[in-house]
Amino acid sequence: MSPAKATAVKRVEATGGPSGETEELISGSEAIAHVCRLADVDVITAYPIRPYDTVMQCVSQMISNGDFDCEFIVAESEHSQFEIVKHASAVGARVFCGSSGVGWFYAFEALAVTAGLRLPMVAMVGNRALDDPGAFGVEHNDALAVRDLGWMLAWVSTAQEALDTALIAYRVAEDPRVFLPCAISCDGAFLTHSQAIVNVPSQEMVDGFLPPYDRAEKQLHPDNPITIAPQANEDWLMEMRRQNDMAARRARDVIIEAYEDFGAKFGRGGEPFIERYMMEDAEVALVGMGTLAMPVKVAVRKMREQGKKVGFTRVRWFRPFPTQELQDALGGTKAVAVIDRDYSFGSTFYSGTLTNELRSALYPLESRPKIVSTIAGLGGREVTADNVIEIAGMAFDVAEGGDVSEEDTYWIGVRE
C-alpha cells in the first residue's frame, strides 16, 4: 500500500451531534494516530517496518499539516526507538511507539526494561510473522513474546476498537496504581491497512476521560534529584519483582474502572477483557483474538441457523489475562475450540500460547469443558468461515466423545 493511501483521511460526515464525534473512513493505524493527537502525546519515535509503520506515516502527516504537535524522532533502530521514548517517559512526557515482527524483537531489551522501570509507554504492534522467512502477514508471536514482562497486552478486532482501546490504554498505563506499559495489537493488513467507518471523539470528550500524565515523585528532574534503576541484587530484587507483580494485579481493577467510565462518556466500549458472542446458551465455544472475530462470527451465525448451540468468546486483553471472565464464559460449555494465530513449538500438546493459557485458567473449575487446540491463519493466511465450521465440528466431536483428541494440536488449512 502506498504511503499516500495509508495516510489519507477521508471525512465522511461531520455529525456534530451531542456526542461531538466525527465519523471518518480510516484504517486501524490511522485510528491510533488520532489517539496520539487527541491524547496530546509529547514524544513519538518511528522506525520503518511493515505493517505497523502506517501509524507513523499518519502521525508524520498530521505534524506536517499542523494538526498535531510533538517531538517526532525517526530513530536509527527499533532498539533506539523504544529507548528514546522510555527516557522521555521518565522525565514526565507522554509517549507513543510501535513496531512489528522482528522489529519488536530488535527492541526486546528496551521492552523488558520499560516494564521493569514501570514506565507507562503505549505502543502499537502491527502483528506480523517473525523472520525467517520474511513474511508480512499476521501472526501473534511478536507481541505475545513480552507476556511475562509486565506489559499489558490488548488485541483489537476493528479500527473503532483500536481507537477506543488506545485511549483506555493511556488511562490505565498512566494510572499511578499501575504505571506499566501497554501494547495494542492490530492484526497486520487485516486491521493496519483496512479502512472502516470510525467515530473519532472530540478533544473535549478525550480531555474529560484522560487526565494528564503525572509522574509525581518518580519524575526525573533537577527539582527531584532521584537515582532511578540503581544496581540491585539478591538482597532487593525479589521485592522489586513483587512490586511489579502487584502492579500487574492492580491493573485488572483499573481496567474495569476505565471501561465503566469510557462506556458512560462515549456510549460504547463493551465488556472489559472479553467479548461474548452468542454465548448465552452455547454448548460449544470458539475462542480467539483479533480480526479472526469476523469469520468466526459469520460461521457462528451460519451454525446457529442450523440449530447448533455454538458461541464465540474473543479475548480482548491477554495481559492481564482474563482468568475469571473466561471461567465464567466457558465454564458452562461442553467443549471449547481455541484458534491460535501463533505457535509455541514443543509446548504442552504442541499448542499455541492462547490455548496453553486458557487450559491453565480452566483447570481449577470443578466441571471443565474439553479443549480442542488448533492453529490457523499463520503468516496472514485467511481463516475462512468454513475453516471455523470445521473447527467447531471438532469441538462438537470431542464433546460427544469422538475421535478428536484433547492431547494434540490441529493445524487448520495446512498442506501436509
Binding site: V43, E71, S80, H87, N224, T227
Partner: protein, 338 residues
Amino acid sequence: MAEADVQNLEDFLATQVLDPWKGPKKVPAEEYFTSGHRTCQGCESAQLMKLMAKAGGPRSIVLGATGCMYVANTTYYSTPWQIPWMHTQLGSTGSAATGTAAGLRALMRKGKMKKEPINVIAVCGDGGGVDMGLSAISAALQHTQYNLLILLYDNESYANTDIQVSGSSPYGANTTFSTPGKARRIMHRRWKKNTAAMLAAGHPECKYVATVCTAYPVEAMNSVRKALSIGGPTFIHSLDPCPKGWDYDPKYSHELGEIAVETGIWPLYEVEDGKLKMYGRSKRIVSGQFKRRPVREYLERQGRFAHFTDEDIEFFQAKTDEMWEKWLLPGVIPFAEA
C-alpha cells in the same frame, strides 16, 4: 516558518551559560558526585564523573549506561549522585540522551513544565560507546535540536565484567578474552578505534567534539562546560587509566594519563564549530616543541603489556609514529592524500 515558530524554536535551543574556570582555585567547592559508590581505588572514571558533575552543576540530569559507572557507582540503597541520575541500557547512551532532551523540550514547549535550560549528560564506557552504542550515539549527534552531551569514559576494556577486550582496547593488551598463551602471544590484534575523530568527521553539524584526560582536570571540566554551553548534541571522549584492567599500582593513575598524552598515544584536541584545536602537550607535539616520549615508557608500566617482546613494542611505536608523521591531521585524521 512563522515568526512565532522561529522564536519558539530558538527559545528551546537555549543552553546554560557555563564559562570556563580559569585555574583550579576558581573551581567551586560543591560536589554533585560524592560518597556512596564502590569504585576501585585509583579509578579515573569515578574522578571523571566527579569532575563532570561539578562542571555541569545542579541543574543537570545524568544518564548512565551499563558499565563500571553503573555497577560500581549505584548500588541499591546508596547513590553518589546528588543530581538526578538514571540507568540506561548498554547500547542506549545516545538514545537516553535524545529521549531525555526530547521529553524536556516537549514538556517545556507545550507549557507542561517550567521552562529552563537543563543539562542532559549521558555517560558510557568504551563497551557502551565504542562498541554496542555507536549507532545510537551517531544518531544522537544528528538531532541538532536537542542539547545534550555524550561523555565516553574509556578505560579500554569491559572492566566491570572482568576485563574483556573492546573495540577501544589497545593492540595486544592482555584481557580475559585475549590472554596470552603458549601458542599465541598476541590474541587481540585490532588497533584501537579512533572514536572521537570518527564522530567529529562523520557529523559535520555537531558543534563540539573533544578528547580529555583526567590527568588534566581543569581542562576536562572546561571541556564539559563548553560542550554543555555550545548547543546541540556534543561528544567528549576521555581516556581513563584503570588500575584493575591495566594492572598497575592505583597511585599511578594520574601519571599514566600524563604518559599516555606525552607518548602521543592519547592526543588531546577539540573540534569546535568545525575548527580543530590541539591543546596541552599534544599541541606542543604537533608544533615540534615537545618530543614524544617512547611508548615503551607507557607500555612497561602496565601488566596488561607484560607479555610484549621488543618486537611488539617496536610495532606499537611504529603505529604511534604513523599517527603523528603520516596522518592528514596529526593525531586526528588517519589517512593522507594519495
